[in-house]
Protein backbone atom coordinates (compact mmCIF):
# COMPACT_ATOMS: atom_id res chain seq x y z
CA UNK A 1 0.00 0.00 0.00
CA UNK A 2 2.80 2.38 -0.86
CA UNK A 3 0.96 4.79 -2.99
CA UNK A 4 2.11 8.19 -4.00
CA UNK A 5 -0.33 10.92 -3.46
CA UNK A 6 -0.11 14.58 -4.13
CA UNK A 7 -1.04 15.50 -0.57
CA UNK A 8 1.39 13.26 1.23
CA UNK A 9 5.09 12.72 1.43
CA UNK A 10 6.78 10.01 -0.59
CA UNK A 11 5.88 6.90 1.30
CA UNK A 12 2.97 7.77 3.49
CA UNK A 13 -0.40 7.73 1.84
CA UNK A 14 -2.53 10.60 3.09
CA UNK A 15 -6.13 10.19 2.00
CA UNK A 16 -8.38 13.06 1.05
CA UNK A 17 -11.48 12.97 3.16
CA UNK A 18 -14.51 15.19 2.71
CA UNK A 19 -16.79 15.43 5.73
CA UNK A 20 -20.21 17.00 5.38
CA UNK A 21 -21.33 18.17 8.81
CA UNK A 22 -24.71 19.55 9.73
CA UNK A 23 -24.51 22.95 11.30
CA UNK A 24 -26.46 22.14 14.46
CA UNK A 25 -25.00 18.92 15.77
CA UNK A 26 -22.01 17.56 13.96
CA UNK A 27 -20.34 20.83 13.04
CA UNK A 28 -20.75 21.85 16.67
CA UNK A 29 -19.41 18.44 17.67
CA UNK A 30 -16.38 19.08 15.49
CA UNK A 31 -15.97 22.46 17.17
CA UNK A 32 -16.15 20.76 20.54
CA UNK A 33 -13.47 18.28 19.48
CA UNK A 34 -11.36 21.35 18.73
CA UNK A 35 -12.21 23.08 21.98
CA UNK A 36 -11.18 19.92 23.85
CA UNK A 37 -8.03 19.62 21.70
CA UNK A 38 -8.95 16.14 20.53
CA UNK A 39 -6.65 15.17 17.74
CA UNK A 40 -7.70 13.74 14.40
CA UNK A 41 -5.89 13.74 11.07
CA UNK A 42 -5.67 16.92 9.01
CA UNK A 43 -6.79 14.87 6.02
CA UNK A 44 -10.36 15.50 7.07
CA UNK A 45 -11.83 18.67 5.62
CA UNK A 46 -15.25 19.71 6.81
CA UNK A 47 -17.96 21.30 4.69
CA UNK A 48 -20.70 22.94 6.67
CA UNK A 49 -24.24 22.23 5.55
CA UNK A 50 -27.39 23.33 7.34
CA UNK A 51 -28.57 19.74 7.70
CA UNK A 52 -27.46 16.31 6.59
CA UNK A 53 -30.48 16.33 4.27
CA UNK A 54 -28.82 19.11 2.27
CA UNK A 55 -26.19 16.67 1.04
CA UNK A 56 -27.04 15.78 -2.51
CA UNK A 57 -25.73 12.42 -3.73
CA UNK A 58 -24.25 14.50 -6.49
CA UNK A 59 -21.87 16.13 -3.97
CA UNK A 60 -20.67 12.74 -2.79
CA UNK A 61 -20.05 11.53 -6.33
CA UNK A 62 -18.42 14.79 -7.27
CA UNK A 63 -16.05 14.55 -4.31
CA UNK A 64 -14.94 11.14 -5.52
CA UNK A 65 -14.73 12.45 -9.03
CA UNK A 66 -12.42 15.25 -7.98
CA UNK A 67 -10.12 12.94 -6.09
CA UNK A 68 -11.52 12.29 -2.63
CA UNK A 69 -10.65 8.94 -1.13
CA UNK A 70 -13.48 8.91 1.36
CA UNK A 71 -16.67 10.83 2.03
CA UNK A 72 -18.40 10.93 5.40
CA UNK A 73 -21.68 12.58 6.23
CA UNK A 74 -22.38 13.56 9.81
CA UNK A 75 -25.72 14.66 11.15
CA UNK A 76 -27.72 14.93 14.33
CA UNK A 77 -28.77 11.66 15.90
CA UNK A 78 -32.04 10.36 14.48
CA UNK A 79 -34.77 12.09 16.42
CA UNK A 80 -32.55 15.05 17.28
CA UNK A 81 -32.57 16.83 13.91
CA UNK A 82 -32.78 20.57 14.30
CA UNK A 83 -35.30 20.48 11.48
CA UNK A 84 -37.01 17.43 13.01
CA UNK A 85 -36.86 15.19 9.95
CA UNK A 86 -33.84 16.08 7.84
CA UNK A 87 -31.54 13.32 9.02
CA UNK A 88 -34.26 10.74 8.49
CA UNK A 89 -34.41 11.66 4.81
CA UNK A 90 -30.65 11.76 4.64
CA UNK A 91 -30.50 8.33 6.19
CA UNK A 92 -32.68 6.79 3.49
CA UNK A 93 -30.94 8.62 0.67
CA UNK A 94 -27.45 7.76 1.77
CA UNK A 95 -28.35 4.15 2.53
CA UNK A 96 -29.59 3.74 -1.01
CA UNK A 97 -26.73 5.68 -2.55
CA UNK A 98 -24.06 3.74 -0.65
CA UNK A 99 -25.77 0.51 -1.51
CA UNK A 100 -25.68 1.53 -5.15
CA UNK A 101 -22.00 2.43 -4.98
CA UNK A 102 -21.38 -0.95 -3.41
CA UNK A 103 -23.42 -2.53 -6.19
CA UNK A 104 -21.14 -0.85 -8.69
CA UNK A 105 -18.15 -2.33 -6.96
CA UNK A 106 -16.85 0.66 -5.06
CA UNK A 107 -15.32 -0.26 -1.67
CA UNK A 108 -17.82 0.10 1.13
CA UNK A 109 -15.28 1.62 3.50
CA UNK A 110 -15.04 4.83 1.51
CA UNK A 111 -18.48 6.07 2.41
CA UNK A 112 -19.98 6.48 5.83
CA UNK A 113 -22.79 8.17 7.69
CA UNK A 114 -22.32 8.91 11.37
CA UNK A 115 -24.57 10.67 13.83
CA UNK A 116 -22.62 13.05 16.05
CA UNK A 117 -24.31 15.38 18.49
CA UNK A 118 -23.06 18.79 19.54
CA UNK A 119 -21.91 17.24 22.80
CA UNK A 120 -19.97 14.42 21.21
CA UNK A 121 -16.63 16.07 20.52
CA UNK A 122 -14.86 12.87 21.50
CA UNK A 123 -17.08 10.79 19.25
CA UNK A 124 -16.37 13.15 16.38
CA UNK A 125 -12.63 12.78 16.82
CA UNK A 126 -12.90 9.01 17.28
CA UNK A 127 -15.10 8.70 14.20
CA UNK A 128 -12.69 10.70 12.08
CA UNK A 129 -9.68 8.77 13.35
CA UNK A 130 -11.42 5.52 12.58
CA UNK A 131 -12.66 6.64 9.17
CA UNK A 132 -9.27 7.96 8.15
CA UNK A 133 -7.61 4.71 9.18
CA UNK A 134 -10.23 2.68 7.29
CA UNK A 135 -9.76 4.74 4.15
CA UNK A 136 -5.98 4.75 4.57
CA UNK A 137 -6.08 0.97 4.79
CA UNK A 138 -8.08 0.85 1.56
CA UNK A 139 -5.38 2.96 0.02
CA UNK A 140 -5.76 5.34 -2.81
CA UNK A 141 -9.00 5.15 -4.61
CA UNK A 142 -7.77 2.51 -7.06
CA UNK A 143 -11.16 1.20 -7.97
CA UNK A 144 -12.46 4.69 -8.26
CA UNK A 145 -9.23 5.87 -9.76
CA UNK A 146 -10.38 5.39 -13.28
CA UNK A 147 -13.60 7.01 -12.28
CA UNK A 148 -11.77 10.22 -11.70
CA UNK A 149 -11.30 13.28 -13.74
CA UNK A 150 -7.57 13.54 -13.72
CA UNK A 151 -6.90 16.37 -16.01
CA UNK B 1 21.11 8.53 44.74
CA UNK B 2 21.47 10.67 41.72
CA UNK B 3 18.51 12.62 40.52
CA UNK B 4 18.84 10.91 37.18
CA UNK B 5 18.64 7.47 38.72
CA UNK B 6 15.66 8.47 40.85
CA UNK B 7 13.92 9.71 37.78
CA UNK B 8 14.62 6.50 35.90
CA UNK B 9 13.22 4.50 38.81
CA UNK B 10 10.16 6.65 38.87
CA UNK B 11 9.59 6.18 35.16
CA UNK B 12 10.04 2.45 35.57
CA UNK B 13 7.40 2.32 38.27
CA UNK B 14 4.97 4.39 36.27
CA UNK B 15 5.55 2.11 33.31
CA UNK B 16 4.99 -1.08 35.28
CA UNK B 17 1.93 0.22 37.09
CA UNK B 18 0.40 2.28 34.30
CA UNK B 19 -0.69 4.71 37.00
CA UNK B 20 -0.79 8.45 36.53
CA UNK B 21 -0.19 9.99 39.96
CA UNK B 22 -1.13 13.41 38.57
CA UNK B 23 -4.75 12.29 38.52
CA UNK B 24 -4.71 12.31 42.33
CA UNK B 25 -6.68 15.15 43.88
CA UNK B 26 -5.38 14.39 47.36
CA UNK B 27 -8.51 13.42 49.12
CA UNK B 28 -6.92 10.69 51.21
CA UNK B 29 -9.75 8.25 50.67
CA UNK B 30 -7.24 5.48 49.88
CA UNK B 31 -5.53 5.83 53.22
CA UNK B 32 -8.85 6.28 54.94
CA UNK B 33 -10.01 2.99 53.59
CA UNK B 34 -6.79 0.99 53.96
CA UNK B 35 -7.14 -1.97 56.36
CA UNK B 36 -3.37 -2.30 56.67
CA UNK B 37 -2.95 1.35 57.55
CA UNK B 38 -1.52 0.77 61.02
CA UNK B 39 1.13 -1.64 59.75
CA UNK B 40 2.54 0.74 57.20
CA UNK B 41 5.10 3.48 57.51
CA UNK B 42 4.07 4.91 54.16
CA UNK B 43 0.40 4.86 53.37
CA UNK B 44 -1.36 4.56 50.01
CA UNK B 45 -1.78 8.31 49.49
CA UNK B 46 1.87 8.80 50.36
CA UNK B 47 2.89 6.23 47.78
CA UNK B 48 1.10 8.24 45.14
CA UNK B 49 2.58 11.52 46.25
CA UNK B 50 6.11 10.14 46.76
CA UNK B 51 6.21 8.46 43.37
CA UNK B 52 5.03 11.72 41.85
CA UNK B 53 7.90 13.53 43.57
CA UNK B 54 10.39 10.82 42.61
CA UNK B 55 11.06 9.67 46.15
CA UNK B 56 11.03 6.03 45.14
CA UNK B 57 14.18 4.97 46.98
CA UNK B 58 12.54 5.42 50.38
CA UNK B 59 9.62 3.27 49.29
CA UNK B 60 11.85 0.53 47.94
CA UNK B 61 13.68 0.27 51.25
CA UNK B 62 10.58 0.23 53.39
CA UNK B 63 8.64 -2.75 54.65
CA UNK B 64 5.35 -0.99 53.86
CA UNK B 65 5.36 -2.54 50.42
CA UNK B 66 4.98 -5.97 52.00
CA UNK B 67 2.26 -4.83 54.35
CA UNK B 68 -0.12 -3.98 51.55
CA UNK B 69 -2.72 -6.74 51.40
CA UNK B 70 -3.59 -6.06 47.76
CA UNK B 71 -7.21 -5.93 48.87
CA UNK B 72 -7.76 -3.19 46.25
CA UNK B 73 -10.09 -1.21 48.52
CA UNK B 74 -8.12 1.89 47.54
CA UNK B 75 -8.59 1.09 43.85
CA UNK B 76 -12.29 0.53 44.30
CA UNK B 77 -12.93 3.71 46.23
CA UNK B 78 -10.59 6.21 44.63
CA UNK B 79 -12.80 8.82 43.02
CA UNK B 80 -10.15 9.65 40.42
CA UNK B 81 -9.24 6.07 39.45
CA UNK B 82 -5.62 6.59 40.47
CA UNK B 83 -5.23 2.96 41.61
CA UNK B 84 -2.67 3.27 44.44
CA UNK B 85 -2.47 -0.51 44.97
CA UNK B 86 -1.07 -0.91 41.46
CA UNK B 87 1.60 1.60 42.32
CA UNK B 88 2.51 -0.30 45.48
CA UNK B 89 2.62 -3.52 43.50
CA UNK B 90 4.93 -1.85 40.99
CA UNK B 91 7.29 -0.70 43.73
CA UNK B 92 7.24 -4.19 45.18
CA UNK B 93 8.02 -5.71 41.80
CA UNK B 94 10.83 -3.26 41.22
CA UNK B 95 12.30 -4.30 44.49
CA UNK B 96 12.00 -7.99 43.74
CA UNK B 97 13.40 -7.66 40.29
CA UNK B 98 16.48 -5.81 41.47
CA UNK B 99 19.53 -7.57 40.07
CA UNK B 100 21.66 -9.36 42.62
CA UNK B 101 19.40 -8.68 45.54
CA UNK B 102 18.97 -11.90 47.39
CA UNK B 103 15.87 -11.68 49.51
CA UNK B 104 15.78 -15.24 50.63
CA UNK B 105 18.81 -17.25 51.59
CA UNK B 106 18.94 -20.92 52.46
CA UNK B 107 20.04 -20.26 56.02
CA UNK B 108 16.90 -18.18 56.59
CA UNK B 109 14.78 -21.23 55.96
CA UNK B 110 14.99 -23.27 59.19
CA UNK B 111 13.63 -20.41 61.29
CA UNK B 112 10.64 -20.02 59.03
CA UNK B 113 9.80 -23.70 58.59
CA UNK B 114 6.38 -24.81 59.60
CA UNK B 115 5.31 -28.47 59.49
CA UNK B 116 2.08 -27.40 57.75
CA UNK B 117 3.95 -25.50 55.04
CA UNK B 118 3.70 -27.25 51.70
CA UNK B 119 7.05 -28.03 50.16
CA UNK B 120 5.92 -26.45 46.94
CA UNK B 121 5.65 -23.07 48.71
CA UNK B 122 9.25 -23.29 49.84
CA UNK B 123 10.41 -24.11 46.35
CA UNK B 124 8.46 -21.30 44.79
CA UNK B 125 9.62 -18.87 47.44
CA UNK B 126 13.19 -19.67 46.50
CA UNK B 127 12.37 -19.31 42.88
CA UNK B 128 10.77 -15.94 43.44
CA UNK B 129 12.91 -14.31 46.10
CA UNK B 130 16.36 -15.82 45.68
CA UNK B 131 18.48 -14.71 42.83
Amino acid sequence: MQVNNSTGSKDVFRPKIVAFCCNWCSYAGADLAGTNRLNYPADVKIIRVPCSCRVNPLFVLQAFQRGADGVIICGCHPGDCHYTSGNYYARRRMTLLFSMLDFMGIEKGRTRVEWVSAAEGAKFADTMNDFVSTVTALGENRRLEDLRCRK
Amino acid sequence: MSKQKANALREEILRISNVDPLKCMRCGKCSATCPAYDEMNYHPHEFVYMVERGAVEELLDDTSIYRCLSCFACIDRCPRQVEPAKLIEAVRNTCLRKQGANHFKADMLPGKLDPELPQQAVVSAFRKYAK
Partner: protein, 323 residues
Protein backbone atom coordinates in the same frame (compact mmCIF):
# COMPACT_ATOMS: atom_id res chain seq x y z
CA UNK C 1 -56.75 -7.27 -31.20
CA UNK C 2 -55.41 -4.63 -33.53
CA UNK C 3 -58.72 -4.55 -35.31
CA UNK C 4 -60.76 -4.10 -32.12
CA UNK C 5 -58.48 -1.31 -31.04
CA UNK C 6 -58.69 0.42 -34.38
CA UNK C 7 -62.49 0.31 -34.38
CA UNK C 8 -62.67 1.64 -30.85
CA UNK C 9 -60.25 4.44 -31.64
CA UNK C 10 -62.17 5.50 -34.73
CA UNK C 11 -65.46 5.41 -32.80
CA UNK C 12 -64.18 7.59 -29.96
CA UNK C 13 -62.63 9.96 -32.43
CA UNK C 14 -65.77 10.30 -34.46
CA UNK C 15 -68.12 10.82 -31.50
CA UNK C 16 -65.84 13.58 -30.27
CA UNK C 17 -64.88 11.89 -27.00
CA UNK C 18 -61.28 12.41 -27.93
CA UNK C 19 -59.52 14.84 -30.16
CA UNK C 20 -56.68 12.53 -31.11
CA UNK C 21 -55.26 9.09 -30.53
CA UNK C 22 -51.82 8.32 -29.11
CA UNK C 23 -50.76 4.94 -30.41
CA UNK C 24 -48.15 3.04 -32.37
CA UNK C 25 -47.51 3.62 -36.05
CA UNK C 26 -46.16 1.20 -38.61
CA UNK C 27 -42.61 1.68 -39.71
CA UNK C 28 -40.69 0.58 -42.72
CA UNK C 29 -40.21 -2.83 -41.15
CA UNK C 30 -42.42 -4.91 -38.92
CA UNK C 31 -40.24 -4.30 -35.88
CA UNK C 32 -39.74 -0.55 -36.09
CA UNK C 33 -43.07 0.75 -34.91
CA UNK C 34 -43.03 4.28 -33.52
CA UNK C 35 -45.27 6.21 -31.14
CA UNK C 36 -47.53 8.63 -33.00
CA UNK C 37 -50.46 10.96 -32.50
CA UNK C 38 -53.31 10.25 -34.94
CA UNK C 39 -55.87 12.96 -35.42
CA UNK C 40 -58.06 11.39 -38.09
CA UNK C 41 -59.68 8.09 -38.89
CA UNK C 42 -57.86 8.11 -42.20
CA UNK C 43 -54.46 8.34 -40.60
CA UNK C 44 -55.41 5.62 -38.15
CA UNK C 45 -56.59 3.39 -40.94
CA UNK C 46 -53.33 3.92 -42.73
CA UNK C 47 -50.76 3.76 -39.98
CA UNK C 48 -52.12 2.28 -36.71
CA UNK C 49 -50.55 -0.94 -35.55
CA UNK C 50 -50.58 -3.11 -32.45
CA UNK C 51 -48.18 -5.96 -32.80
CA UNK C 52 -45.63 -7.83 -30.65
CA UNK C 53 -43.22 -5.05 -31.57
CA UNK C 54 -45.17 -2.24 -29.90
CA UNK C 55 -42.93 -2.14 -26.87
CA UNK C 56 -42.83 1.64 -26.58
CA UNK C 57 -44.35 3.03 -23.38
CA UNK C 58 -46.67 5.82 -24.51
CA UNK C 59 -47.35 7.37 -21.13
CA UNK C 60 -44.50 9.85 -21.29
CA UNK C 61 -45.91 11.50 -24.41
CA UNK C 62 -49.03 12.38 -22.45
CA UNK C 63 -47.10 15.03 -20.50
CA UNK C 64 -47.06 17.16 -23.60
CA UNK C 65 -50.29 15.98 -25.13
CA UNK C 66 -52.45 16.56 -22.05
CA UNK C 67 -51.28 20.16 -21.92
CA UNK C 68 -53.37 20.72 -25.01
CA UNK C 69 -57.08 21.40 -25.12
CA UNK C 70 -59.38 18.38 -25.25
CA UNK C 71 -59.02 14.72 -24.53
CA UNK C 72 -56.57 12.34 -26.06
CA UNK C 73 -57.01 8.60 -26.31
CA UNK C 74 -54.05 6.52 -25.31
CA UNK C 75 -53.48 2.79 -25.50
CA UNK C 76 -51.58 1.51 -22.51
CA UNK C 77 -50.20 -1.93 -21.91
CA UNK C 78 -50.25 -3.13 -18.27
CA UNK C 79 -46.71 -2.03 -17.48
CA UNK C 80 -47.34 1.34 -19.14
CA UNK C 81 -50.23 2.01 -16.77
CA UNK C 82 -47.81 2.04 -13.81
CA UNK C 83 -45.81 4.80 -15.45
CA UNK C 84 -49.06 6.57 -16.20
CA UNK C 85 -50.14 6.49 -12.54
CA UNK C 86 -46.75 7.69 -11.40
CA UNK C 87 -46.90 10.65 -13.77
CA UNK C 88 -50.44 11.47 -12.65
CA UNK C 89 -49.30 11.40 -9.02
CA UNK C 90 -46.54 13.82 -9.92
CA UNK C 91 -49.02 16.16 -11.59
CA UNK C 92 -47.24 15.69 -14.86
CA UNK C 93 -50.23 14.31 -16.72
CA UNK C 94 -53.57 16.04 -16.59
CA UNK C 95 -55.78 13.06 -15.90
CA UNK C 96 -58.93 14.83 -17.09
CA UNK C 97 -57.42 15.25 -20.54
CA UNK C 98 -56.78 11.54 -21.13
CA UNK C 99 -58.97 8.66 -22.11
CA UNK C 100 -57.01 5.53 -21.22
CA UNK C 101 -57.73 2.33 -23.07
CA UNK C 102 -55.96 -0.55 -21.45
CA UNK C 103 -54.83 -3.22 -23.87
CA UNK C 104 -53.68 -6.70 -23.09
CA UNK C 105 -50.09 -7.63 -23.68
CA UNK C 106 -48.62 -11.08 -24.10
CA UNK C 107 -45.05 -9.86 -24.07
CA UNK C 108 -43.04 -7.96 -26.63
CA UNK C 109 -40.52 -9.53 -28.99
CA UNK C 110 -36.84 -8.79 -29.27
CA UNK C 111 -35.80 -8.41 -32.90
CA UNK C 112 -32.22 -9.24 -31.99
CA UNK C 113 -33.29 -12.62 -30.69
CA UNK C 114 -35.29 -13.25 -33.84
CA UNK C 115 -32.28 -12.37 -35.94
CA UNK C 116 -30.13 -14.66 -33.84
CA UNK C 117 -32.51 -17.46 -34.83
CA UNK C 118 -31.48 -16.82 -38.40
CA UNK C 119 -34.82 -15.32 -39.35
CA UNK C 120 -34.54 -12.72 -42.09
CA UNK C 121 -36.97 -10.66 -44.16
CA UNK C 122 -39.56 -10.50 -41.42
CA UNK C 123 -42.89 -9.19 -42.64
CA UNK C 124 -45.07 -9.54 -39.58
CA UNK C 125 -45.41 -11.30 -36.26
CA UNK C 126 -48.40 -12.30 -34.17
CA UNK C 127 -49.17 -14.18 -30.97
CA UNK C 128 -50.68 -17.60 -31.14
CA UNK C 129 -51.21 -18.80 -27.60
CA UNK C 130 -47.79 -19.47 -26.10
CA UNK C 131 -46.25 -19.28 -29.54
CA UNK C 132 -45.44 -16.60 -32.05
CA UNK C 133 -46.13 -16.79 -35.75
CA UNK C 134 -43.44 -15.08 -37.76
CA UNK C 135 -44.29 -14.32 -41.37
CA UNK C 136 -41.22 -13.83 -43.51
CA UNK C 137 -40.61 -13.41 -47.20
CA UNK C 138 -39.42 -16.98 -47.16
CA UNK C 139 -42.49 -18.38 -45.46
CA UNK C 140 -43.95 -18.76 -41.99
CA UNK C 141 -42.30 -19.89 -38.77
CA UNK C 142 -44.01 -20.87 -35.53
CA UNK C 143 -41.66 -20.28 -32.60
CA UNK C 144 -41.78 -20.50 -28.83
CA UNK C 145 -42.49 -16.96 -27.66
CA UNK C 146 -40.28 -17.34 -24.56
CA UNK C 147 -37.27 -17.70 -26.85
CA UNK C 148 -37.99 -14.51 -28.69
CA UNK C 149 -39.38 -12.23 -26.01
CA UNK C 150 -37.58 -9.21 -24.62
CA UNK C 151 -35.82 -9.81 -21.31
CA UNK C 152 -38.12 -7.43 -19.48
CA UNK C 153 -41.16 -9.34 -20.69
CA UNK C 154 -39.74 -12.66 -19.61
CA UNK C 155 -39.81 -11.42 -16.03
CA UNK C 156 -42.99 -9.36 -16.39
CA UNK C 157 -44.08 -7.96 -13.02
CA UNK C 158 -47.75 -7.47 -13.85
CA UNK C 159 -50.36 -8.18 -16.45
CA UNK C 160 -52.80 -6.02 -14.53
CA UNK C 161 -53.80 -2.55 -15.66
CA UNK C 162 -53.64 -0.22 -12.67
CA UNK C 163 -55.32 2.67 -14.49
CA UNK C 164 -57.77 2.77 -17.39
CA UNK C 165 -61.06 4.19 -18.54
CA UNK C 166 -61.88 1.11 -20.55
CA UNK C 167 -60.22 -2.18 -21.15
CA UNK C 168 -59.80 -4.17 -24.34
CA UNK C 169 -58.87 -7.82 -24.16
CA UNK C 170 -58.26 -9.84 -21.06
CA UNK C 171 -57.27 -8.39 -17.70
CA UNK C 172 -54.35 -10.14 -16.06
CA UNK C 173 -52.92 -10.21 -12.59
CA UNK C 174 -49.88 -8.95 -10.74
CA UNK C 175 -47.29 -11.62 -11.31
CA UNK C 176 -44.81 -13.16 -8.95
CA UNK C 177 -41.87 -12.28 -11.11
CA UNK C 178 -38.26 -13.25 -10.76
CA UNK C 179 -37.05 -9.89 -11.95
CA UNK C 180 -34.57 -9.39 -9.10
CA UNK C 181 -32.65 -12.57 -9.80
CA UNK C 182 -30.06 -10.88 -11.93
CA UNK C 183 -29.55 -8.15 -9.31
CA UNK C 184 -29.14 -10.82 -6.67
CA UNK C 185 -26.60 -12.61 -8.83
CA UNK C 186 -24.54 -9.44 -9.07
CA UNK C 187 -24.89 -8.78 -5.35
CA UNK C 188 -23.43 -12.18 -4.63
CA UNK C 189 -20.29 -11.34 -6.58
CA UNK C 190 -17.25 -9.81 -4.97
CA UNK C 191 -16.99 -6.05 -5.17
CA UNK C 192 -14.13 -6.42 -7.58
CA UNK C 193 -16.20 -8.62 -9.91
CA UNK C 194 -19.09 -6.19 -9.74
CA UNK C 195 -16.74 -3.37 -10.52
CA UNK C 196 -15.39 -5.24 -13.53
CA UNK C 197 -18.91 -6.10 -14.63
CA UNK C 198 -20.07 -2.49 -14.58
CA UNK C 199 -16.87 -1.23 -16.12
CA UNK C 200 -17.47 -3.66 -18.95
CA UNK C 201 -21.05 -2.54 -19.40
CA UNK C 202 -20.85 1.20 -18.78
CA UNK C 203 -17.67 1.77 -20.73
CA UNK C 204 -19.76 1.19 -23.83
CA UNK C 205 -21.99 4.16 -23.04
CA UNK C 206 -21.88 6.76 -25.77
CA UNK C 207 -23.95 9.31 -23.86
CA UNK C 208 -26.63 9.32 -26.54
CA UNK C 209 -29.21 10.04 -23.80
CA UNK C 210 -31.71 7.62 -25.33
CA UNK C 211 -32.31 6.04 -21.91
CA UNK C 212 -33.12 9.39 -20.40
CA UNK C 213 -35.23 10.56 -23.27
CA UNK C 214 -37.43 7.50 -23.26
CA UNK C 215 -37.75 7.17 -19.49
CA UNK C 216 -41.21 8.17 -18.24
CA UNK C 217 -39.73 9.13 -14.87
CA UNK C 218 -37.12 11.34 -16.53
CA UNK C 219 -39.65 13.95 -17.43
CA UNK C 220 -38.04 17.08 -16.04
CA UNK C 221 -38.84 20.38 -17.64
CA UNK C 222 -35.13 20.70 -18.00
CA UNK C 223 -32.86 17.81 -17.19
CA UNK C 224 -29.88 18.71 -15.01
CA UNK C 225 -27.68 17.09 -17.63
CA UNK C 226 -28.96 19.67 -20.10
CA UNK C 227 -28.65 22.57 -17.72
CA UNK C 228 -25.36 24.47 -17.95
CA UNK C 229 -25.95 25.88 -14.44
CA UNK C 230 -26.12 22.46 -12.86
CA UNK C 231 -22.43 21.85 -13.42
CA UNK C 232 -23.09 18.36 -14.74
CA UNK C 233 -24.47 19.35 -18.09
CA UNK C 234 -24.34 16.94 -20.93
CA UNK C 235 -20.90 16.16 -22.10
CA UNK C 236 -19.38 13.59 -24.31
CA UNK C 237 -18.36 10.50 -22.40
CA UNK C 238 -14.99 12.07 -21.72
CA UNK C 239 -13.87 9.65 -19.07
CA UNK C 240 -15.21 6.58 -17.33
CA UNK C 241 -16.41 8.51 -14.32
CA UNK C 242 -18.63 10.59 -16.53
CA UNK C 243 -20.53 7.47 -17.52
CA UNK C 244 -20.91 6.25 -13.96
CA UNK C 245 -21.84 9.66 -12.64
CA UNK C 246 -24.50 10.02 -15.26
CA UNK C 247 -26.03 6.61 -14.70
CA UNK C 248 -25.89 6.69 -10.90
CA UNK C 249 -27.40 10.14 -10.75
CA UNK C 250 -30.02 9.21 -13.28
CA UNK C 251 -30.89 6.06 -11.36
CA UNK C 252 -30.98 8.02 -8.11
CA UNK C 253 -33.24 10.67 -9.61
CA UNK C 254 -35.78 8.05 -10.56
CA UNK C 255 -35.30 5.93 -7.41
CA UNK C 256 -38.65 5.39 -5.78
CA UNK C 257 -40.36 6.68 -8.90
CA UNK C 258 -39.13 4.16 -11.44
CA UNK C 259 -41.87 1.65 -12.19
CA UNK C 260 -39.40 -0.75 -13.78
CA UNK C 261 -40.89 -0.51 -17.26
CA UNK C 262 -37.54 -1.38 -18.76
CA UNK C 263 -37.63 1.17 -21.56
CA UNK C 264 -34.09 2.36 -20.73
CA UNK C 265 -32.56 -0.99 -21.57
CA UNK C 266 -34.83 -1.48 -24.58
CA UNK C 267 -33.65 1.66 -26.29
CA UNK C 268 -29.98 1.50 -25.36
CA UNK C 269 -28.08 1.14 -28.62
CA UNK C 270 -25.19 -0.42 -26.70
CA UNK C 271 -27.41 -2.95 -24.92
CA UNK C 272 -26.27 -1.84 -21.47
CA UNK C 273 -28.54 -3.48 -18.84
CA UNK C 274 -29.45 -0.12 -17.31
CA UNK C 275 -32.61 -1.51 -15.78
CA UNK C 276 -30.41 -3.39 -13.31
CA UNK C 277 -29.43 -0.10 -11.68
CA UNK C 278 -33.05 0.84 -11.24
CA UNK C 279 -33.94 -2.63 -10.05
CA UNK C 280 -31.16 -2.48 -7.48
CA UNK C 281 -32.83 0.58 -5.96
CA UNK C 282 -36.23 -1.10 -6.13
CA UNK C 283 -34.86 -4.23 -4.50
CA UNK C 284 -33.17 -2.25 -1.75
CA UNK C 285 -36.32 -0.24 -1.14
CA UNK C 286 -38.39 -3.41 -0.92
CA UNK C 287 -35.95 -5.04 1.46
CA UNK C 288 -35.17 -2.05 3.66
CA UNK C 289 -38.38 -0.03 3.71
CA UNK C 290 -41.07 -2.54 2.81
CA UNK C 291 -42.55 -3.67 -0.49
CA UNK C 292 -43.18 -0.78 -2.78
CA UNK C 293 -44.25 -0.56 -6.40
CA UNK C 294 -44.12 2.88 -7.93
CA UNK C 295 -47.22 3.76 -9.91
CA UNK C 296 -49.38 1.13 -8.26
CA UNK C 297 -51.86 3.87 -7.36
CA UNK C 298 -52.35 7.50 -8.17
CA UNK C 299 -51.57 8.38 -4.56
CA UNK C 300 -48.49 10.50 -4.14
CA UNK C 301 -46.39 8.09 -2.14
CA UNK C 302 -42.79 7.20 -2.55
CA UNK C 303 -40.07 5.87 -0.26
CA UNK C 304 -37.64 8.74 -0.60
CA UNK C 305 -40.10 11.37 0.56
CA UNK C 306 -41.04 9.32 3.60
CA UNK C 307 -39.19 7.93 6.57
CA UNK C 308 -39.67 5.92 9.69
CA UNK C 309 -37.94 6.73 12.95
CA UNK C 310 -36.64 3.19 13.13
CA UNK C 311 -35.34 2.95 9.57
CA UNK C 312 -32.18 0.94 9.17
CA UNK C 313 -28.90 2.80 9.52
CA UNK C 314 -26.75 3.29 6.41
CA UNK C 315 -24.32 0.85 8.02
CA UNK C 316 -26.65 -1.91 6.83
CA UNK C 317 -24.94 -1.58 3.48
CA UNK C 318 -21.67 -2.75 4.98
CA UNK C 319 -23.24 -5.77 6.58
CA UNK C 320 -24.84 -7.06 3.42
CA UNK C 321 -23.40 -8.66 0.35
CA UNK C 322 -20.00 -10.03 -0.42
CA UNK C 323 -16.60 -8.51 0.46
Amino acid sequence: MQKVMLERAKALLSDGTVRAVLAWEKGDFAYDTTPAVFNSAERLEKGFVYSPFCGANLSKYLIKETQKEGKILVFLKPCDTYSFNQLVSEHRIKRENVYVVGVECKGMLDIEKIREKGVTSLISASWEGEQVRLVTADGEILADSSELMQERCLCCKSKKHVAYDELLGEEGEVLDSNRFDEVARLEAMSAKERFEFWRGELSRCIRCNACRNVCPACSCEKCIFDNPDSGVQNKAAADPFEENLFHVIRAFHVAGRCTDCGECSRVCPEHIPLHLLNRKFIKDINELYGEFQAGETELPREPLTEYKADDVEPGVVYERGAE
